[in-house]
């Protein structure tokens, strides 16, 4: 079932069209990557989901209901442009922001205590935010975002500004939350993290959605039946013993042996390739080349 459905969203600012008839469906209990280059319209879509702005046309449904003010409490949002009140203490501020999301004061305190203990940052409670490092502030912002146990979590470029250790921590936590039942929308142009954690994606470019679906399906679709091989052979040339309709995309000599990429007419020909290889050389590696999301992203965006 889809937790969030956005249908034919269009949004125009003065003369600039930020979103043009964009539809997305975010399945429940999954991590959904919202991808696209800068200025594509990702943040606008996210703001519409958060009811910060309204669409000119189109509808958004959350859990089957038309989006309405009470849904604010079901959503946790970590914006790309994020910060905290510098002069307020961490504790006061966290309670304030949690209460704005509808938590009671005592619930907020209880939840905060749990997370602060988990991350071992209890000592920061009475510190002013301006005394903390940027990484520390990010941790607090993350905790505040997930504190009210939202059904839907929206992270806009969550890893920007995080060091590798915190990035990992965050990734793990996002996966944890998904496993515990949350649905996550995850906007980024960091493709490596997309492959790692996203189940579904939508790619937006120039205010239009140009690609969406399951990550594995998309990768399947963009596969070119190309295989990477490594082998030892000192007698014959590769091109001489493989069938002529197999295309050698790349070949190079390694310290010991060779590496090559071969494009097959279709995936059904893998065994033919293997047989040919086995006869003439010792195979060290045989692997299907799956296009990275980065490649797909670049190909789609530049073709578009």
């Amino acid at each position: 079932m889809d937790l969030l459905v956005a249908e034919n969203i269009t949004k125009t600012f003065a003369k600039h069209r930020a979103l043009n008839n964009v539809s997305i469906s975010v399945p429940e209990n999954s991590i959904f990557g919202l991808l696209g280059p800068n200025g594509a319209g990702k943040t606008t879509l996210i703001r519409i989901i958060n009811q910060i702005t309204g669409p000119d046309s189109g509808k958004v449904f959350l859990g089957g209901e038309k989006l309405q003010p009470k849904h604010i409490e079901y959503i946790g949002y970590l914006p790309e442009e994020r910060g905290l009140y510098k002069k307020m203490t961490v504790g006061e501020q966290s309670i304030y922001l949690a209460r704005l999301k509808g938590l009671s004061k005592s619930d907020a305190k209880k939840q905060l205590k749990y997370w602060f203990e988990k991350y071992e940052i209890g000592a920061w409670w009475d510190k002013k935010v301006e005394e903390l490092s940027k990484g520390m502030q990010q941790k607090i912002q993350f905790i505040i975002t997930i504190l009210h146990k939202p059904k839907l979590l929206i992270f806009d470029e969550p890893f920007s500004g995080f060091d590798p250790i915190n990035t990992n921590l965050l990734k793990e936590e996002i996966l944890n939350l998904r496993n515990e039942g949350a649905t996550v929308i995850f906007s980024t142009h960091n493709m490596a993290s997309v492959e790692e954690i996203c189940d579904h994606i939508a790619l937006i470019n120039k205010s239009k959605k140009i690609l969406d679906g399951k990550v594995s399906d998309i990768q399947d679709e963009y596969k070119t039946s190309t295989y990477e091989i490594e082998y030892d052979s000192n007698t014959t040339q590769l091109s001489e013993f493989i069938p002529s309709n197999f295309e050698i995309v790349m070949k190079e000599e390694l310290e010991r042996g060779f590496r090559a990429k071969i494009k097959l007419p279709s995936d059904n020909h893998t065994n033919e390739l293997l047989t040919a290889l086995m006869k003439n050389s010792r195979i060290k590696l045989f692997k299907e080349i799956i296009p990275s999301m980065n490649e797909i992203f670049i190909r789609k965006v530049t073709n578009n």
């Binding site: 910060i52 914006p79 994020r82 922001l97 505040i144």
Partner: protein, 439 residues
């Protein structure tokens, strides 16, 4: 509603707990009290007694000068050159030289002294001599003593306001002027100070980038109103504390300097008035009359109307301008960019303060009328007029226009604010603002 309340709470508490607020709250009244106390203190304590030596060659003025607490007159039986040399040795501060007149009465007199004699001393000497001269000249012209003393009596001017139904009410020109000025200045400063605080608060939320986190939890309009209302409560708290602290300091000071203060003298005079001998009774009665007169005029001021309308204009004037300042804060990225937008917003405020004089001179004139009707200037201009009495229909019109103006400007400000708070790193022009209104 609940969320606005949370914002109000945060704005209020975070500011009231600030060091600057506490310092201002304590320092303000001390400064204000000092404004009242220091002049009294200086007048009573620091002034030494000045002794004026008189060399009167004319021989007319030996009795003209009355000694007072601060100023003593001593005749010097020597010629002027000697006096100039020796006055310091004798312990006098200056020499007043009245040369022998060539015809009847002297035309000029001279003060010799090392340090400035001071305006008060000069005025007193001039007045004493002129009074005496006038009397002497009148006598020379054959005017009788009774006429001369009768000439010294003046009149009291009382202005009575006639109501539509023939009722009579004592007018209180000066008091009205003071009341109107103080109240309208209070509104002016409150709007200015707390209006810019609203603006700073908005800019702070923008530059710290917390704004988007917050407005994913509530509507921008709620945040804006919460901030404006929260700050108005901070302002009211400060105002109230100032009034309380200032009054207690002044009251305390009154007792500390009680001997020197005219107020207390008056009080004592009234208390002992009954047992004073009949010769003084007249003077005491006159004192009574004056006090009673002031009391009467004070009582004739309609405090219910004044306090009521003060609170109304105070509140709605601030709310209106608070919204405008919030819009400015939303539109810009930092304090430096605010100038071009602050100016047009503050022009109506400055105009109404500049119109203070014309309005008090002619509280029912066209300038007073229009400025007190137009919503942007009415909070201050109407407040100047109210102690003088304003027709009900004008007050009603002005108030409803102000409420209407408040709604309109809040709506406009809300639109600008809503768009502006999510815009970063963009220099905003008026053209841009106009576009935002139509988003």
């Amino acid at each position: 509603m609940n969320k606005i309340w949370l914002v109000i709470q945060r704005e209020y508490l975070s500011r009231v707990q600030k060091k600057s607020f506490i310092i201002m709250t304590i320092l303000g009244p001390i400064l204000m009290a000092a404004l009242f106390i220091v002049p009294v203190y200086i007048a009573t304590v620091s002034d030494e007694i000045k002794v004026v030596g008189i060399v009167d060659e004319s021989g007319f003025f030996t009795d003209a000068f009355e000694n007072s607490d601060k100023l003593k007159f001593k005749e010097m039986h020597m010629d002027i050159d000697e006096a100039k040399e020796s006055y310091k040795k004798i312990g006098y501060n200056m020499v007043l030289y009245i040369p022998k007149p060539s015809y009847t009465y002297p035309k000029k007199i001279i003060i010799y002294s090392q340090s400035e004699p001071g305006m008060n001393v000069e005025r007193k000497i001039r007045k004493s001599i002129n009074d005496d001269l006038r009397t002497m000249r009148l006598k020379d012209a054959g005017v009788g003593d009774d006429v001369i003393s009768a000439m010294k009596d003046g009149v009291n001017l009382t202005s009575i306001k006639l109501g539509e139904n023939g009722s009579e009410e004592k007018r209180t020109g000066t008091l009205n002027f003071i009341l109107g000025t103080v109240l309208s200045l209070a509104i002016y400063f409150f709007i200015f100070f707390y209006g810019t605080q609203v603006m700073r608060g908005v800019i702070e939320e923008k530059t710290s980038r917390i704004i988007e986190v917050i407005i994913s939890s509530l509507k921008p309009f709620q945040l804006m109103m919460g901030k404006i209302i929260g700050l108005s409560m901070v302002g009211l708290t400060q105002f109230l504390l100032w009034v309380i602290i200032t009054t207690s300091i002044i009251t305390g000071a009154k007792f500390a300097f009680s001997d020197n203060l005219a107020e207390i003298e008056k009080y004592q005079m009234q208390k002992t008035g009954q047992v004073i001998d009949p010769a003084n009774q007249v003077e005491v009665n006159a004192q009574y009359d004056k006090t009673a007169e002031i009391l009467e005029t004070v009582m004739s001021i309609d405090f219910k109307v004044i306090i009521g309308s003060f609170l109304f204009y105070f509140l709605f004037g601030y709310l209106l301008y608070g919204a405008l300042f919030a819009a400015i804060g939303g539109a810009v990225d930092n304090d430096a960019d605010t100038q071009q937008f602050i100016l047009p917003v503050t022009i109506p405020l400055i105009i109404s303060i500049m119109a203070l004089q014309p309005i008090t001179n002619n509280p029912d004139g066209p300038v007073a009328f229009w400025l007190s009707i137009i919503p942007l200037t009415s909070p201050i201009s109407m407040m100047i007029r109210i102690p003088f009495g304003v027709p009900w229909w004008q007050l009603a019109l002005s108030m409803s226009l102000l409420v209407g103006g408040f709604i309109f400007f809040t709506w406009v400000a809300g639109k600008i604010y809503r768009v502006g708070i999510l815009m970063y790193g963009k220099k905003i022009s008026y053209k841009e603002l106009w576009k935002w209104l139509r988003y």
